[in-house]
């Protein structure tokens, strides 16, 4: 038995930017040796959104697959370290919590740590949950060092805050050196096979036709192939996530390089702050039904910590996703496939998932319907689980403004309503293996936004109250000691070759 059919050979990526170049670099690295010819078409005349300056720890796996050295990446992209996301004013004005890349506490008995914490909390005998988490304690003190495996410290992970434009540019270099062909030009036509409806080529303004066997749509919100050409319906989720506009603007760093991203709730939306080595990325996400553009822009500008680096740029979007991200011979990756607001830094992660799922299901000789179905199943699951987690931030609020009252009153997915009740009534957490946000994430947001369990796993009652108090105190003390022993984040950046911190390169 031998395999004679023609392999899928020509891959055309439509659109540069973060999604396009991440896809190109990954395909070139992981599948380049199999005879793939990869062409990326982009136009300098079309701007990129430059999504996702803040990432999740999964980016480290992606970089590792691409053979990227973290130290070099940090220098090339003006990156800082990220140990989590601080949420300010989300429950009530004045509240603050960090969603960490780590865990809470340690094993005390058969119940989970949060059950023991909830029991002690009900008796007023416990510190805030964040004080049982090493990356939170380190982040609050501006400290960081890479996790090391001596087994005595609470495990944690980290991600990066980087300049997405620089990251894309660097991946562009890597991809092109691995054989990816970059074609400059605006696409003016898309040709389809008259029988199958599959895309056969894209044509540029100069008349050149670029033919392909598989097309990857990284054209951003325009969704040139998956949307405009293949007319794949868009599932609108704005009834759950109604924010639909944003302003973005960089500014000078006011001196706080804290190893975390910040999301501060505002009157009808929220503001992000992402400290990089050379600037701070800022943005305000809002809902136009509650805040007009001018007021939103003013609110953003009034809350910058340093001199602005550019004029504010407005983005308009609808949250949701395509009903199928792989249709015919076209796979949509990045904003072309869907958009979930950047509240939990999921944009780059969704790009990464799209790429890695595609690599795993990459066709040999023909695109099988079973593979398309599986790709769409995996991506649907990811989008939906992220969606529920994002909605939680909005519905679990106690603020008084009209927008926030409306958020509390809006219908939510049944799956989320059950999760909130499970936690409030019995400290139960979602139980699934596949999904970006695992129990630690849910605990962070629930407790951070004042959804406190009324009861807990009765097994947590098996330990004597005094003994429980001693155990919690010991855990708290060890974490505090470990956090203080870490070097400063800025020192780490300097040792990692940062060009801008401590005044270098300014």
């Amino acid at each position: 038995m031998t395999e004679r059919a023609q392999a899928i050979r020509n891959v055309v990526i439509v659109g540069g930017g973060t999604a396009g170049w991440m896809t190109a670099a990954a395909l070139a690295r992981l599948l380049g040796g199999t005879g793939l010819a990869i062409t990326l078409v982009e136009s300098a005349a079309i701007g990129t959104v430059g999504v996702g300056e803040a990432t999740l720890p999964q980016i480290r796996r992606f970089n590792s697959l691409l053979g990227i050295d973290e130290r070099e990446m940090m220098a090339r992209t003006a990156a800082t370290i990220k140990l989590g996301i601080e949420f300010r004013d989300w429950g009530r004005v004045g509240d603050s919590y960090i969603h960490p890349f780590g865990r809470f506490g340690q094993e005390i008995g058969p119940a989970s740590f949060v059950d023991y914490w909830a029991r002690a909390h009900a008796r007023g005998m416990v510190a805030p949950i964040g004080q049982y988490c090493l990356p939170i304690m380190a982040a609050m003190q501006g400290r960081f060092e890479p996790p090391h495996g001596n087994g005595t410290r609470q495990p944690y992970d980290y991600a990066f805050q980087f300049d997405a434009g620089l990251y894309a540019a660097w991946l562009s270099e890597l991809a092109q050196s691995a054989g990816v062909v970059r074609r400059e030009g605006r696409i003016v036509d898309v040709a389809r096979n008259s029988e199958s409806g599959a895309i056969s080529a894209v044509s540029l303004e100069d008349g050149a036709a670029i033919r392909g066997d598989l097309f990857i749509d990284c054209s951003g919100f325009r969704a040139l192939l998956i949307g405009e050409t293949l007319e794949t319906p868009f599932e609108d989720w704005s009834h759950w996530l109604p924010c639909n506009r944003a302003f973005a603007v960089p500014c000078a760093n006011g001196g706080d390089y804290g190893p975390y991203t910040r999301a501060t709730a505002r009157a009808a939306g929220w503001q992000w702050r992402i400290p990089l080595q050379h600037r701070v990325g800022n943005g305000l996400v809002y809902c136009d039904a509650f805040w007009d553009d001018m007021d939103a822009a003013e609110a953003l500008m009034a809350n910058l910590e340093g001199e602005r680096g550019a004029e504010p740029r407005q983005l308009r979007f609808t949250t949701g996703r395509r009903s199928a991200l792989w249709r015919s011979n076209c796979v949509a990756i990045g904003l072309a496939g869907g958009f979930l607001e950047p509240l939990e830094s999921t944009s780059i992660d969704l790009i990464q998932s799209g790429i890695l799922n595609l690599v795993e299901l990459f066709p040999h000789t023909a695109i099988e319907e079973a593979d398309r179905r599986e790709y769409n199943r995996l991506m649907d699951l990811e989008f939906e689980r992220i969606r529920d987690f994002l909605v939680l931030h909005y519905v679990a609020n106690q603020r008084e403004e009209e927008f926030w009252r409306a958020m509390r009153a809006m219908p939510m997915p049944d799956s989320l309503a059950d999760r909130i009740e499970d936690f409030r009534e019995r400290a139960m957490l979602p139980d699934y293996a596949d999904g970006l946000f695992q129990p630690v994430s849910w605990i962070s947001v629930f407790l951070g936004q004042n959804v406190v369990p009324r009861r807990w796993d009765p097994r947590a009652d098996a330990i004597d109250a005094d003994e429980l108090g001693k155990r919690l105190t010991a855990i708290h003390g060890k974490i505090a000691d470990d956090a203080v022993a870490m070097p400063l984040h800025l020192d780490f950046l300097e040792r990692a070759g940062a060009r801008y911190v401590y005044g270098a390169g300014q």
């Binding site: 038995m1 031998t2 395999e3 992981l30 599948l31 380049g32 040796g33 199999t34 005879g35 058969p110 690599v359 795993e360 299901l361 990459f362 066709p363 040999h364 000789t365 099988e368 079973a370 593979d371 599986e374 199943r377 059950d418 009740e421 499970d422 009534e425 019995r426 139960m428 139980d431 699934y432 293996a433 596949d434 009861r455 807990w456 796993d457 009765p458 097994r459 947590a460 009652d461 098996a462």
Partner: protein
């Protein structure tokens, strides 16, 4: 309904109640009391369960505790009667085989076989690397802890247990002061407002107030028709007289197709929501899947674990019931597809076996088979009960040979691949030669 749950009543056959009561007793808070009502024992039966099953982990049991409960240890088992040629399938739970540059070994082997024009020999080539199955076939026995940095770490030892002996060990080991034993051939349930079970009345007249009733009394499947998860393929098998039994066997335990006329006539079933109000049906009261893969015993142990995880905090146990029912549905889905796999992939020619092949396959299993057949990929789902490598072994042994492989495998230099595969195979063979025999292992366990 306010107030704490207070009292839990567990009722059922001896072999069924003690795996539940034993685990409850080991984790019980002092304010909860458990009344255990033993009814008559059912016929003794065997179960073949992973030594590292989460249930045993929750009990704090390892090999020595299982040995004290009468376990015999093995590395694999035989599946008999599923193939047209009559050859048995040897299956062995296993951790992942060594990956090469992150790619699963079977993907690499498929690429090598394709390049050599020998795809018809892929199963044979793969078998050479099936370390755990080969160890089982050759009568060897060891534990992963015997060589954590060697291929022994892949071994997935199993414990062959007599369920009555296991129950006795759990009964003996239960010294919790808040566990109270009762014996009653029959009970009556007295329900209060909202169909809540308020009191359990024993045949002797004693009355036990209950916050939660854990009911393990075997349920007549016909009474569950209105509230059942469909199991069409398993029902077809049962209606065509196909059922399995586990025999101790030598050198390996074996699942055999029961001779015609001896099969269990009770229909497979699974309740959709076994926890209603304060009445929780567990094990044989909530579902009966199959004797194959000790599915019914696995269901009971999974239920015991899910119960302790969902112990009610208060008399209003809505959220606990919802979570338990969701976990139950997931366990049934995973168990049903596991049992359905060898049935759906049987190659026998008789009419009844053809009818089983023609039955609708559970959705997750269909996806696994399609993906594995298309490209050697194995999708994973929440609540997996066997690991990835076991699925790969089972599908390969059942004749599902990938038509294609992960395209990344084509990127390797064939000479480097030959060298890497040769090294892996040599390591596996060397370790295989060094593993102790079953008799030597048994003697070691006996010495303690």
């Amino acid at each position: 309904m306010r107030g704490e749950c207070g009292t839990i009543v567990v009722v059922g056959g001896y072999e069924d109640i003690w795996p539940v009561a034993g685990l409850l007793a080991s984790q019980l808070p002092p304010h909860l009391t458990v009344h255990v009502i033993e009814q008559s024992a059912s016929a003794s039966s065997l179960a073949l369960l992973p030594v590292d099953d989460r249930y045993f982990g929750a009990l704090g049991w390892g090999v020595s505790e299982l040995a004290a409960a009468g376990a015999r240890f093995t590395l694999g088992f035989v599946l008999d009667g599923l193939r047209r040629d009559g050859k048995p399938i040897v299956a062995a739970p296993s951790g992942d085989l060594p990956a090469i540059a992150g790619l699963a070994l079977h993907q690499i082997l498929r690429r090598v076989a394709a390049q050599a024009g020998a795809l018809d020999r892929l199963a044979e080539l793969y078998h050479g690397f099936s370390f755990c199955a080969r160890a089982a076939e050759s009568g060897k026995m060891a534990l992963p802890a015997d060589g954590p940095d060697t291929p022994l770490a892949m071994l997935g030892p199993l414990a062959l247990l007599d369920r009555a002996t296991l129950a006795e060990a759990l009964d003996r080991g239960c010294a919790a002061p808040n566990v109270v034993r009762h014996t009653a051939s029959a009970i009556a349930l007295e329900r209060g407002e909202g169909e809540v079970v308020g009191t359990v009345r024993l045949a002797g007249g004693e009355r036990l107030e209950t916050g939660l009733l854990v009911d393990l009394r075997t349920l007549d499947p016909d009474s569950a028709r209105g509230d059942a998860i469909p199991l069409p393929l398993l029902e077809t098998a049962q209606s065509r007289g196909i059922a399995f039994e586990l025999r101790a066997g030598q050198p390996l335990p074996a699942y055999h197709v029961k001779p015609r006329g001896e099969w269990d006539r009770s229909r497979p079933f699974a309740l959709a929501a076994p926890w209603q109000g304060n009445h929780l049906r567990l094990g044989p009261a909530a579902g009966q899947i199959s004797g194959l893969f000790s599915a019914d015993s696995r269901l009971l142990l999974a239920h015991a674990l899910d119960l302790v995880q969902c112990l009610p905090a208060m008399r209003d146990m809505t959220v606990e019931a919802r979570r338990f029912n969701a976990l139950h549905a997931r366990t049934i889905e995973r168990l049903a597809e596991l049992v359905a796999a060898p049935l759906a992939l049987n190659t026998r020619s008789e009419q009844e076996w053809q009818a089983v092949r023609a039955s609708p396959v559970p959705e997750a299993l269909r996806l696994r088979i399609d993906q594995f057949r298309n490209r050697g990929r194995l999708p994973e789902f929440d609540g997996e009960i066997v690991d990835r490598q076991f699925w790969i072994d089972l599908l390969m042994a059942s004749g599902v040979v990938p038509r294609s492989h992960d395209r990344r495998a084509d990127a390797f230099d064939p000479r480097q691949l030959d060298r890497a595969l040769g090294t892996v195979r040599a390591q596996l063979d060397q370790t295989l030669r060094e593993i102790s025999s079953q008799a030597e292992f048994d003697a070691r366990i006996a010495r303690g």
